[in-house]
Amino acid sequence: MAQRGGDRNRRGGDERRRQYARTIGTDGGPSSVSRRRFVEAAGAAGIVAGLGGCITSNGGGGGAQEGEIDVGEVPDEPITLQWAASEQEAGQSDKIVSALHEAGMPENIDINFLSGGNVTSDRQNQYEQWLAADREKPDLLRMDNGWTIPFIVRDRILNLERVLSDETVDRVKNNYFEMSVQTAMDPQENTLHAIPLWMGLPTMQYRKDLVEQAGYDPDGQNWATESMSWQRFSEITADVMQQQGMNYGYTFQADVYAGLSCCDFNEFMSGWGGAYFGGVENLFGPIGDRPVTINEPPVHDSIRMVRTFIHGSNAPNTLNQYAGNIAPVSVLNWTEQSSMRPFSNGETIMHRNWPYSINVNGAPDAFGENLGVMPIPYAVSADEAEYAGTGGPVAALGGWHVAINPNTQNMAAAVAAVEAATKDSFNFALFEILGQIPPKPDLLDTQRARDVPVMGRYMDALQVAGQNAIARPVTVVWPDQSRQVAQAVNSAYAGDVAPEQAMADLEQTMEQIEESA
């Protein structure tokens, strides 16, 4: 909030004041403070005061959450819960509510899905403001697994182990993808604070028709399940580019944004056996007491490889054994949508993106069955990698959870809705309605999943991605670190800074951020 003041109409005001003074009989003579100076000073004070903007303290959250809560029975009267979601859910709200009812949510509970923006950081800021202000609505919140943990650590969302049955909690902890559940748990207490709703699993999507025309056999060589090396990937891409006379071989996302640090760079780095903080055991902390391992040879090599893809092997800081010039320099300014555009337009052979891109490009009126999907390539195998969880076809974990607002006045109904959201039938329904991938490995290997239009064709590749998913290192300092990573990596990819220098500087910065928490 900013106000701007001014000393408008000074002269006119002075004249009117003089006339008024003459009318009422005051002397109008010299005074210790001239009117002009006084009004000028007042105007200046107004401007200065108005410039500050407004940031106010909101008090705090709820404090430590301990002990069970007796939520009681769901009341008999109609209840409408507010669920902060997205326009996708809001657009299919009837079907989703029906699915929840079928999964056991009482019939008298209805849900009003709030359609939020698609920019995840905007949603995060919105939730922070709502919850810090102790708002009672929305009752339920859809949260990105990339920033749920900071809300848990700050006691902004309800500890579900206080309200869910032990059986449900155990089911979530044992039956879901482990990495996904870890992003919904308190890293110190190991308590569950959110339920994974669906997973985002990035894959390498490609033009199967063009690849086959170039003489390759994706089905015969099991590309969907047997991930290939980055070296072979680059050679195939370059070859198909040449044979098909295409300008773009491979598009991905390397803009200065959160998606680079969480995902694309994380995949390149992890595929080389590199890591942010050693193995996966340090992903979620302890902050300040874990090694920063960003400045190591595997990470440097991953940057050189990407530079080769973009700038060719004749450019400085590249790798000779990889085919170069397969990615346009535009990737340095591309995010998901902008990088998908040339792929959807038929100008690209290989494209790294999230499952929604499979739905878009695999639709019958798009590429249909000419769309191929395979796991992300890798440089070293998991056995060769130094750090646990790295090496092999690593896929950056995306996806969303549902959490309960601790201030809700409909606790019993909210718990009933969340309980229903853990049921297999609901996971399948979300997959069928919105193409959102179930967060349970067992569900992916079923006929019902394979029967889902478009996405069902690619369940094999998605299962491999799920098995090799790695979460971003989400902690309360990750937003600060993520920004620095994105800037440093983009600069290194662009060639503004050598990989070693960029990572050495980044290592120092990340250590300082670790200390700042």
């Binding site: 909030m1 106000q3 701007r4 003041g5 009422i24 109008g28 005074s31 403070v33 100076r37 006084f38 009004v39 000028e40 007042a42 105007g43 200046a44 004070a45 107004g46 401007i47 200065v48 005061a49 108005g50 410039l51 500050g52 903007g53 940031i55 106010t56 303290s57 909101n58 705090g60 959250g61 995060q124 922070e128 900071p150 650590v153 700050r154 006691d155 803009d255 200065v256 944004y257 346009p328 320099v329 535009s330 340095l332 300014n333 591309w334 902008s338 040339p342 309360v476 937003p479 920004r483 620095q484 994105a486 800037q487 662009a494 503004d496 910065t509 990340m510 300082q512 951020i513 700042s516």
Partner: protein, 317 residues
């Protein structure tokens, strides 16, 4: 008590006030309003800036640390947690305070020069002047997001028509929107494109308030066009120019939306970008300190202007 005496009481009461007292009385409602909507948030922001960040607890801020946030910001100890350094004169295009000042000074100067030139043209009588004015003001009517998208699309690699030729001539790099220097230049150009119209209109209003008979006197006295401009136009339009520059400078030093739509705050860090990014990270103490510093810097510039302006006015009188 007669009705007449009751009615006349307020007049008698105000008549007894001195000029100064009366002025303060008239300003009371304004001060009350400012107190609620401006001064209270400013003081609240300052209060918040005296507390440590609290990333791991339920409360919004941590313990009271006095001026530590300011000290650490100004001595470079907070660089790691900010998108870019707060002050680093060795990389002026990559740190917040120099970027903000460069943007404000360069854009306001260019807008003033171009706006002045356009206003001088529009002050003349010529056919189609009305349409020219409409065309000139169109960019000012464009919403900031649209303005940002126009320039984003111009320079976005793979889409923008401006990137390839400018890159080939060596003016910009291949991806100007991820390069701090290139992006700052583009954002300045975008701002000049939009806001020159604002300067033109304010300066034109000043030009049209000049008594035309002064030019007649100048011509009779044998003054050249340049002498008329220097001795008549410039002194008389200067107050309007300075007021326009003041308002533009205040706005320019708070630049945020244009940066976010054309490039991003990590590439072109302004002071407002720092406020928003640290706020988004939950570092409320740091965010408040930067916000207050921003207000203080702008307030200082405004005070200097007002003192100088008042002095100049006194000399004219």
């Amino acid at each position: 008590m007669s009705l007449a005496s009751v009615v006349s009481r307020p007049a008698n009461w105000t008549e007894r006030l001195s000029e100064t007292q009366f002025a303060y009385l008239m300003l009371v409602p304004v001060f009350l309003l400012l107190g609620v909507i401006a001064i209270w948030p400013l003081l609240s922001t300052f209060r918040l800036s005296l507390f440590a960040d609290n990333l791991t607890g339920a409360s919004t801020v941590g313990e009271f640390v006095g001026l530590q946030n300011y000290v650490e910001l100004l001595t470079g100890q907070r660089e790691a947690i900010l998108p870019r350094p707060f002050i680093d004169l060795s990389q002026p295009f990559r740190s917040a305070l120099p970027v903000t000042l460069i943007f404000a000074v360069v854009s306001v100067l260019l807008e003033t020069l171009l706006g002045f030139a356009a206003a001088l043209v529009l002050d003349q009588e010529f056919r189609g002047r009305r349409w020219f004015r409409v065309a000139l003001i169109l960019p000012w009517a464009v919403p900031i997001v649209i303005q940002g998208m126009i320039f984003y699309l111009m320079f976005a690699p793979g889409i923008g028509f401006a990137t390839d030729p400018l890159s080939a001539w060596g003016i910009f790099g291949e991806t100007p929107l991820t390069n701090s220097f290139d992006s700052l230049a583009i954002i300045i150009i975008a701002d000049v494109w939009k806001t020159t119209a604002f300067m033109t209109l304010l300066i034109l209003a000043g030009l049209q308030s000049i008594d035309r008979s002064l030019y007649e006197v100048g011509r009779v006295a044998g003054a050249s066009k340049w002498q008329q401009f220097k001795m008549i136009t410039l002194p008389l339009v200067l107050p309007a120019v300075l007021v326009a520059m003041l308002f533009r400078s205040i706005n320019a030093m708070r630049v945020f939306g244009l940066i976010e739509t054309v490039s991003d705050c990590g590439t072109v860090p302004s002071l407002s970008c720092m406020v928003v990014s640290s706020f988004s990270s939950g570092r409320y103490g740091t965010s408040a300190a930067i916000a207050f510093l921003t207000a203080a810097i702008i307030g200082g510039a405004v005070m200097i202007y007002i003192v100088q302006f008042a002095r100049g006015q006194a000399e004219v009188i």
